[in-house]
Amino acid sequence: MPVRVRFFASLRERMGQEEVQVRVDGPLTVRELWALATDGRELPPNLLTAVNLEHAELDWTVQDGDEVAFFPPVTGG
């Protein structure tokens, strides 16, 4: 199963898409997934990430079938 990669808010607009499906060949880190999903785009400063709806760090390992989200700093409330 591919990894579902989602982008939110200003990052979604910059990427020009809400999500991409990425086929992964074995486990990889969130950082490596970013590179695959964005054709090697530079990591934005203050980028936040989530794996399967939980906050995650860039060195977290992504598995087949996971949902990974990239988003800018949050501004609720």
């Binding site: 989602r6 939110f8 808010a9 200003s10 936040l48 989530a50 709806l53 939980e54 906050h55 989200a69 988003f71 800018p72 700093p73 949050v74 501004t75 609720g76 409330g77």
Partner: protein, 161 residues
Amino acid sequence: MHVAVTAEPIEPYRLLAEHEARRAGRRAACGATAVFIGTMRDHNEGDPVQAMTLEHYPGMTERYLERLVAEARARWAIDDALVVHRVGELRPGDPIVVVGVWAAHRAHALAACRHLIEELKSRAPFWKKERLPDGERWVEHNTPGEVEEPPAGGDPARRSA
């Protein structure tokens, strides 16, 4: 405990009254209710703001808010909590969020309420896009949650004009 994210306009005082009614049987056990209501301002960073769109991460946001409330229950002696957050199109004056905390004593109610709104603002996946007279912009950071303490000068009520 009640946590919700909604695209419908919210009425914080009605939500609080409804929640009070639901917990009528427990009211006598609580001597303190702390409430925070966040409302959309008509200005930000020196610019007039005409409208705002609030976006969230369906699934993750609700889960994060549930976790925050559970953590607050573990950390403070609170009896109940209510968190309702708005998403979608907002106008100045529209309520964005209501946080209510019920506890036997005020110290726990106030501390938990403060914690919930500050954690929500710094970690819960919500994003604001403002509409200004000359275009749109994403809000990049929240205003600080702390104020500078005024200089110590005794009881302000006793100060002469």
